[in-house]
């Protein structure tokens, strides 16, 4: 069986088991929808009072918010195995079992669980996306779609990379550290506003260290037809999400390094 078919089987098994508890699935999804929805209402409330932020209007900021929200919801739903890696695999010694199977560790952890309840978060981001299309005047050509889909793909790669790094840390710390949430949840918070409102040092951090800006700000700004105010070469803007994949590559390289030095906690 090839890797893709095996992964498909993992996904089916995971969804099947979660659908055994339909009420729990519905309520948790609804909870995620409402909790993130409140977050967006806060953005709306600020625009209701102040009308604009550094020259950007509500509809434009909604598109930044939607693109990063969709990327995060998808990545968060697919990488559960890395998210719980410290408690579920390292501390218990279960990672030994993963290592003796003749398949890659990454594939097995991706197949550990597909979190169906993240549909709530995804739905919220899609609703915001629709609001954004109503409030802005973008011609939805194939170039626009491909730029934004590339941004979402880059964003998924970036957030997956952050979760892989969080899991990698567990090889040394045993427990997963909450500090990685700063980059995942905190990254969503930071990237839902246009990058040019931030101070230069923070903007550079979000471009060159953890390229959150590259998977939302630059592509969305180019779609909105707004001149970039951070001084990057304009021709490069739509291609910046590629940095998300570079980040994932580095994360996976670090992961392999971590796997090699893994010492089991089991006896």
């Amino acid at each position: 069986m090839n890797a893709i078919r095996l992964y498909g089987r993992y996904v089916r098994a995971s969804l099947h088991s979660q659908m055994r508890y339909p009420a729990s699935f519905l309520l948790t999804s609804l909870g995620a929808f409402l909790a993130t929805g409140i977050d967006f209402i806060a953005v709306w409330a600020l625009f209701a009072r102040f009308r604009q932020i550094a020259g950007w209007h509500f509809g434009e900021v909604a598109l930044f918010y939607a693109v990063i929200g969709v990327s995060f919801a998808l990545a968060d739903g697919l990488t559960r195995g890395f998210d719980v890696f410290g408690e579920q695999f390292v501390r218990t010694g279960d990672f030994d079992r993963v290592l003796v199977r003749p398949r890659s560790t990454v594939l097995q952890l991706l197949g550990y669980e597909v979190r169906a309840t993240r549909i709530g978060r995804l739905a919220q981001a899609v609703v915001v996306w629709i609001i954004a299309t109503r409030l802005t005047h973008i011609g939805w050509t194939w170039q626009v779609w491909s730029t934004l889909l590339f941004a979402v793909a880059g964003g998924m790669a970036l957030f997956s990379g952050i979760l892989v790094l969080q899991a990698t840390m567990a090889f040394w710390t045993v427990e997963s550290l909450e500090i990685a949430n700063t980059l995942s949840y905190g990254g969503v918070e930071a990237a839902q506003y246009p990058l040019d409102i931030y101070a230069r040092w923070f903007r550079n951090f979000l471009t060159f260290v953890v390229p959150l800006g590259c998977v939302s700000y630059f592509p969305v700004a180019s779609v909105l037809g707004r001149a970039d105010r951070t001084g990057l070469w304009p021709g490069l803007l739509p291609f910046s999400p590629a940095l998300g994949f570079v980040f994932l590559g580095v994360a996976l390289w670090t992961w392999r390094f971590g796997v090699r030095r893994y010492a089991s906690t089991g006896s």
Binding site: A35, A42, A45, I53, I179, Y193, I197
Partner: protein, 275 residues
Amino acid sequence: MTAATVRPYLAVFRARFQLLLQYRAAALAGFGTQCWWGTVKVMVFAAFLSGQVDSPMTLRQTIDYVWLGQALLMMLPWSADPELARMVRSGDVAYERLRPVETYAYWFARAVARRTATPLLRAIPMVLTAGVLLPSLGFARWGLSAPAGGSAVAIFSLSMVLVIALASAFSTLLDLLAVLMLSERGVNILVAPLAIVFSGSLVPLPLLPQWLQPAMRYQPFAGLLDFPLRIYSGHLAGADALAALAGQAAWVLVLVALGRVLTTWVMARLQVQGG
């Protein structure tokens, strides 16, 4: 009430307080997260408030609100005590019923420890970073500034005492609901978003739309964070500040009374599980 009747509750408080002070690594991780969150919020509000805008709060007051809000974040009644629901599931609650203390006061004392020890561990590094480190590095404009004056300090201190009482009364109510439902998960999913929005932790309450303002003043969550933060920066002063204290005190009385009634009701139909 005499000293002898209070003593067991003080002992419970002291024991829980010392236990909760041990979670220092978690507090450090939380502190890191809150630094990030505070920094992003300060920059976002600075961008909103720059230029010609008509704002009910100055940027100075908003920045103080953000940093102090991050410092006191763990005082919010986010969640029910997971241990109590577990006690009901395992049947250990039977031991709790045998103790010669009043159940509500006993659980309230536990809640007071939770709402002081955990926040304290986070508030100290946060206030030192935003109030001392940032100004000494030359970023005083972006840090936490000194309180608005002598009377602001006095009223703020009183208000913080009421915050502890209010947060603990809230927490005890959540604990009771968790005991009733045998699990804290449902309660937490419902309460966390309410607390974060209506306390002003997400957006300072005065910055919410004008038509919401009267309702915001009278709801119980405002007394958990919004009132003390505004008293600190002088946004609420004089008679308004005293009215805020009265509002906090009134909600403490309401929630404690509600908690007592609920305790009687819950205990009357408590089923001890296990065998």
